[in-house]
């Protein structure tokens, strides 16, 4: 036993100043900062180990709690990932906002190509494609099913056209660009399906709002799940908590194992959610690839990016911690010794 520490023969040594100061001075005088730090770390290690062993001793109950958390986490995250995947069809969205410029019939290929190059230099234009009168006719013959009838026509009735893919899908920018392109020489007609763009933007916004609302609801549900689980653990350990408080355990000491429990639930729930998402997207991808192939596309869903996975894990741990903190803070007053 170190010098100066209270021994069985010196029980009165702690008596004197206030209780907190007495104990504090005893510890600081005899044990030093490093020993106190070691004791603090040891206390954390013991709490973490104890919480882990309690979860392991109830594997089924712990698993289902984590599974509920995983489902609650993976739903909004999965939807967000799907939306991100859909938006990666970027080219397609932008093509939906393409401006078609129909030139006068006598414009000629040389002028069309010159105009294409000029438009390509515009800051709000991502891509430009020239479709000559001959190409337009050939495509029309192929896709319309009127090939034979069109061959009977004495002249090609279709004009040369330029397809302009805008850089950004923004209504005002598009309208300005449309007006600018419309005023170019030999442009007979300029077309832009604004209604479709507005619908698209509304759909995307609705998707984002839906995911946000779902996230808020599921986060609240998740906090309740963790809070309720921790509350049950507190109830089961009520006698232990009362004894701990009677022998000098601080609120922090009482709180610590439950916070670790929340963190462990969060961690396990986060891992499970990551796995659910990874396997879920992989499973869905089979159907998506098949569907995309039917449309002649090579589109496929991308998996869970590693940074998103870690964000999910961190969020789950934080939610577990917050849920546990709320539960313990709420019940700590009721845990006074009786």
């Amino acid at each position: 036993m170190s010098a100066g520490r209270v021994t069985p023969d010196q029980p009165g040594e702690r008596v004197g100043a206030t209780a907190k100061h007495q104990v504090a001075s005893t510890l600081s005088d005899t044990r030093g900062f490093r020993n106190q730090l070691r004791a603090w770390l040891e206390s954390h290690r013991a709490s973490c180990k104890d919480s882990l062993s309690r979860l392991v001793r109830q594997p089924l109950g712990s698993f289902f709690t984590c599974l509920v958390m995983a489902v609650a986490l993976s739903l909004p995250m999965g939807l967000a990932l799907l939306l991100e995947n859909v938006s990666q069809l970027g080219g397609s969205w932008q093509r939906a906002a393409q401006i078609s410029l129909f030139l006068e019939l006598d414009s000629g290929d040389t002028y069309g190509e010159l105009l294409r190059d000029k438009i390509a230099e515009h800051e709000h234009v991502a891509e430009v494609q020239w479709i000559s009168r001959e190409q337009a006719l050939a495509e029309f013959q192929e896709h319309s099913g009127l090939g034979e009838a069109l061959r009977e026509l004495p002249n090609n009735p279709l004009p040369g056209s330029i397809l302009v893919t805008p850089e950004v899908i923004d209504k005002e920018t598009l309208v300005a660009l449309l007006d600018e392109l419309k005023s170019l020489p030999k442009v007979e007609q300029a077309q832009l399906d604004l209604m479709w763009i507005e619908r698209l933007a509304a759909i995307l916004q609705m998707g984002e709002h839906f995911i946000f609302a779902l996230s808020v609801l599921l986060i609240a549900a998740l906090l309740l799940v963790v809070g309720n689980t921790i509350r049950l653990h507190i109830e089961n350990r009520r006698v232990e908590i009362e004894v701990i408080k009677l022998v000098g355990g601080t609120d922090g000491y009482v709180r610590r194992p439950f916070l670790y429990m929340g963190v462990l639930y969060g961690f396990a729930g986060g891992i499970l959610a990551w796995l659910l998402l990874a396997f879920g997207l992989e499973w869905l991808n089979v159907s998506v690839v098949q569907l995309a192939q039917l449309y002649g596309s090579e589109f496929s869903l991308s998996g869970v990016p590693i940074e998103d996975g870690f964000s999910l894990l961190l969020g789950a741990v934080l939610l577990g911690y917050i849920g546990a903190w709320l539960a313990v803070a709420r019940h700590l007053r009721e845990l006074s010794p009786r």
Partner: protein, 222 residues
């Protein structure tokens, strides 16, 4: 060590637990508090443990006024006190050793020192060989001794016991009292609440007698 000065404890329902109680306890003293049920014995112990606060008067423990103690100071105050309950309050999901080690773990002592101190405490109550057993495997008397070992393991300045022999036969009760005497010999102040007058008389120590919250006697038990 302990000073009650006109301490009154009145509950919201009007019941008076303690009525203008005044007495002093010197450091290293051994005393009993006796009285019938509802006399105020448990209220006195609850006040000393800062589980409740006096309604009026001054209650000093080791120089600290318990009427003014802050909530954050209470755990540090309790670390100077050992408590023995009538129903032991042992944790049945852990071993005897782990039960006794609890106050030391709260203090954050190194494991090596915890092992030494727990062994010493269990030796004092003659239960060293039962360290790894579960409390449920022990007799009532042995469980009570485990409770005492837990109360003394951190060498408190004050030991409080609430009816520690209430469930024990006279032979076991005498054994437990002998353990308390040994602890007191080491300098710890011991305050025992008990209504077992025959046992108290055998101990020939100071006795406070309470009746309906009032102190009606203070002297050596005969």
């Amino acid at each position: 060590m302990i000073r009650f000065e006109q301490v009154e404890k009145r509950y919201p329902n009007g019941h008076v637990g303690l009525h203008e109680l005044s007495f002093r306890v010197r450091r290293g003293e051994f005393l009993f508090v006796t009285g019938h049920s509802g006399a105020g014995k448990s209220t006195m112990l609850r006040l000393l443990l800062a589980m409740e606060r006096p309604t009026s008067g001054k209650l000093l423990l080791a120089g600290q006024d318990l009427a003014k103690i802050t909530n954050s100071q209470i755990p540090f105050l309790r670390r100077q006190i050992g408590v023995v309950f009538q129903n032991h309050q042992l944790l049945f999901d852990r071993s005897v050793f782990a039960n006794v080690a609890l106050p030391l773990q709260i203090l954050g002592l190194p494991q090596e020192e915890i092992n030494q101190r727990v062994s010493l405490a269990l030796e004092r109550v003659s239960l060293k060989e039962k360290a790894l057993q579960a409390p449920a495997d022990l007799s009532t008397g042995q469980q009570q001794r485990v409770g005492i070992a837990r109360a003394i393991v951190h060498q408190p300045a004050l030991l409080l016991a609430d009816e520690p022999t209430g469930n024990l036969d006279p032979r076991l009760a005498a054994e437990i009292m002998s353990v308390f005497e040994d602890i007191n010999q080491l300098g710890t102040t011991v305050l025992i609440a008990s209504h077992d007058l025959a046992l108290i008389a055998r101990m020939r120590q100071r006795m406070l007698t309470l009746q309906r919250g009032r102190l009606i006697g203070d002297g050596e038990a005969v």
